[in-house]
């Protein structure tokens, strides 16, 4: 039996460490550990509730806007404050822009190289690659000339020995299975993705004033001035710019990103049967369509035990069960106390021990829903939508299934999505859905403004007594909720139950593991020194600090990235 430690699996802020025990080439035990304390909730106590979002958007360097929006929604919920429709649409467009950006970067720049073997590219036939690519999508950037140019670039890098600076790891690994042509197609899209990453950033910047830290939010709405006759405000020019950017961006998402994940699924079908893990799913409703947030464009709901027929819809943010069901448990986390606490009563007094797999081993608490671990993220989003008959979800999921079938005849069902590959597919299906919704919400905003509504803000009034509120957002990595207690306009408690906490959850009081941990059980590991298969499954969740699997120390060695005992 081998014990493999991968540390860090990811990094940007905080670190994720994964330990697995492998027996006979199969993982039979796993632990996920976050090795950095996130103490920002402590900083929020005592702050003015109107400014909480400014601090909350520094929770993480990558998902800035999601925390800003969840924070204002929590305070608005505590105040029962409605926000003007214009503010809902502007926030929705920012959230869509951010999500598209995040999903594109995750697939191409953070995880595609787990599946693409660059060393195969020089062997590809560009004409054959072009015909494969054109068969699976109507994208115009797949010509033989385009692909030949990318191939020449890669050959040049290999010849000059410069590939070393780009070496992400496991090239030539026996678990790499794409043909030279498909490697070439995917790598060429990897390069093109940079341009589309920029375009989705521009959507956020035009509406939010600035990225990565937006400036236009307020408890009660947004601070975007709307005046069709002024150059300095939200006017027809700006709306036209947004339209133009989206029209550029959307074909890349729907014809390239979605098509590429379908190619991966067709070439790596075994990953449709690996990595299922916790089959309880939670998604929260988002993209509200009215001031009171009674109708939503993205459905929420709960699925238990992988049974899609059992879906219980979460119709709105007032959902009584959700508010009662969510708890966090610190039995195996480096905090004092143990058993489950409701977020309003949540605490985080550090109690660091060391990595002790039988006791405390992570800075992440164990969130539970009615006592059960839940998987969150695009997969939960897509499964809940599919199971509840949401038309847009069904449309794009069925497009994905037929594209996969078109490659080599593989038939995929919604149940197969409960897997490592399903998480990659769901992320691109969700992106295709969000692309349609971006145009719809831009149209809603434009129509509302043309109808003469220029309101964007309702001023909050804080009562003297204690109030409590919860703000939800279906973020790129899944269901996010901020829980606040406010007295005289100041936070007295603040807890954020974030998507990566749900997914990277440690074992709870009952010893039940979280989604990362259980998804790794049964994963094959061909070479313990190069546990590529484990990384594929962990990366399929888009771990929050997912930057790179590498880190360097001062002497130039990669810090014990993988340790086999």
């Amino acid at each position: 039996m081998a014990r493999i430690t991968i540390d860090p699996v990811t990094r940007i802020e905080g670190h994720l460490r994964v330990d697995v025990e492998v027996d006979g080439g199969i993982v039979n035990k796993a632990w996920a550990s976050c090795t950095m304390w996130r103490g920002l909730e402590t900083i929020l106590r005592g702050r003015d509730a109107r400014e909480g979002w400014v601090f909350a958007q520094r929770f993480c360097g990558v998902c800035t806007t999601v925390h800003a929006v969840a924070s204002v929604r929590a305070v608005e919920d505590a105040l029962s404050l409605e926000i003007p429709p214009n503010a809902q649409y502007i926030r929705n467009l920012i959230l869509i822009g951010h999500a598209l950006h995040d999903h594109i970067v995750h697939f191409y720049h953070l995880s595609a190289l787990d599946f693409i073997d660059i060393l195969q590219i020089p062997k590809a036939d560009p004409a054959k690659a072009a015909s494969i690519a054109e068969g699976s999508s109507s994208w115009t950037g797949n010509s033989r000339q385009e692909l030949a140019a990318v191939q020449a670039k890669v050959k040049g890098l290999v010849a000059s020995g410069q590939l070393g600076i780009f070496s992400h790891g496991y090239w030539g690994h026996p678990a790499m299975k794409l043909s030279p042509e498909v490697n070439l197609i995917l790598f060429s899209h990897y390069l093109q993705a940079l341009d589309f990453q920029r375009k989705s950033c521009q959507v956020v910047a035009i509406l939010g004033g600035k990225t990565p830290h937006i400036q236009n939010l307020a408890v009660g709405g947004v601070m975007n001035a709307i005046n069709l006759n002024s150059l300095a405000t939200m006017n027809m020019d700006r709306l036209g710019m947004l339209q133009a950017i989206l029209q550029d961006l959307i074909p890349f998402v729907q014809e390239v990103f979605l098509a590429d994940t379908c190619l991966l699924a067709a070439y790596y079908p075994e990953y449709l049967h690996v990595g299922r893990g916790v089959a309880n799913y939670l998604a929260v409703p988002d993209l509200p369509l009215d001031a009171k947030a009674t109708k939503f464009d993205l459905p929420g709901g709960v699925i238990m035990n992988g049974d899609l027929a059992s879906v219980r819809p979460i119709l709105n943010w007032q959902d009584a069960e959700f508010r009662k069901a969510v708890t966090e448990d610190s039995t195996h986390a480096w905090y004092q106390g143990g058993g489950p606490l409701q977020p309003y009563k949540g605490q985080q007094i550090p109690d660091y021990t060391d990595f002790n797999p039988d006791a405390k081993y992570t800075w992440v608490k164990a969130p539970r829903y009615n006592g059960k671990p839940m998987q969150v993220g695009p997969l939960a989003n897509v499964l809940v939508g599919y199971a509840s008959g949401h038309a847009l979800t069904r449309k794009w999921t069925d497009v994905a299934f037929s594209r996969i079938a078109a490659v080599q005849g593989l038939k995929v069902t919604p149940n197969d999505l409960q897997s490592t590959m399903g998480r990659y597919l769901a992320r691109s299906i969700r992106s295709a859905m969000l692309s349609d919704l971006a145009l719809e919400h831009l149209q809603l905003l434009t129509t509302n403004i043309l109808n003469g509504d220029d309101t964007t803000y309702n001023a909050p009034q804080f009562p003297a007594g204690e109030i409590m509120g919860m703000g939800m957002h279906e973020a790129p990595r899944g269901a996010l909720s901020h829980w606040v207690v406010i007295e005289k306009g100041v936070f007295t408690n603040y807890q954020a139950v974030v998507p990566t906490t749900w997914n990277a959850s440690p074992r709870d009081e009952q010893g039940v593991p979280g989604p990362y941990e259980s998804s790794l059980i049964g994963n094959p590991v061909v070479e313990p020194e190069k546990p590529l298969e484990v990384l594929r499954t962990v990366h399929s969740f888009d771990p929050c600090m997912a930057c790179s699997c590498h880190t360097l120390d001062a002497t130039g060695k990669e810090i014990a990235q993988v340790k086999v005992q």
Binding site: G39, R58, V62, K153, I165, G556
Partner: protein, 182 residues
């Protein structure tokens, strides 16, 4: 389009890691600079750095960099110090994002022409909301180094007659009073 970018990297709530944002805000308030220069606090963007670096002429990065010098000491690094022989030197805590972003941009043909890193040697980058005295005291020097780097590059920066009041919203009150007095 802005062709020159000055960025502060770091999490303002991780002690001295917040030096980048502090230094660029100090620069913004003390110096006048040409309109093609953009000054941004980017926090800890990881790979999301790439869109900001796209097709720039010059990028000046300010960040906390562990080194053998005294706490608060400033050092200048160039891209070749770490990009050409990966692994020789760890520059900043945000290397992986900076590194990968530059590599992607280079492959796609949109990397910045020149990149300078101004690093401060931090005492601690743990969660605290406090910045150490020595590191806080180096912000003005870092601002001067930014101005010098831009001027050398042909974009002259001039000391403002009256410095603007910096917006250091994340710092505890005592630091705010100090910086206003300075």
């Amino acid at each position: 389009m802005n062709t020159i970018l000055v960025i502060g990297l770091g999490n303002v709530f991780l002690g001295d890691d917040g030096f980048g944002p502090l230094a660029i805000e100090t620069f913004r308030c003390k110096y006048e600079y040409p309109s093609h220069v953009e000054v941004l606090d980017l926090g800890t963007p990881g790979l999301d750095l790439a869109p900001y670096l796209y097709d720039k002429e010059l990028v000046v990065v300010v960040d906390a960099v562990h080194s053998d010098t005294a706490i608060g000491a400033l050092s200048i690094f160039h891209e070749e110090d770490f990009l050409s022989h990966r692994a020789k030197l760890r520059i900043t805590g945000h290397d992986p994002g900076l590194w990968d972003s530059l590599t992607h941009l280079r492959l796609a043909g949109h990397a910045p022409l020149d990149l300078i890193i101004i690093g401060v040697n931090p005492a601690s980058c743990e969660f605290s909301g406090q910045i150490s005295e020595q590191v806080f005291g180096s912000a003005s020097d870092a601002a001067a180094l930014i101005a010098h780097s831009l001027s050398e590059h042909g974009s002259a920066c001039i000391l403002r007659e009256a410095a603007r009041a910096p917006n250091l919203w994340w710092l505890p009150i005592e630091h705010l009073e100090e910086s206003t007095a300075a």
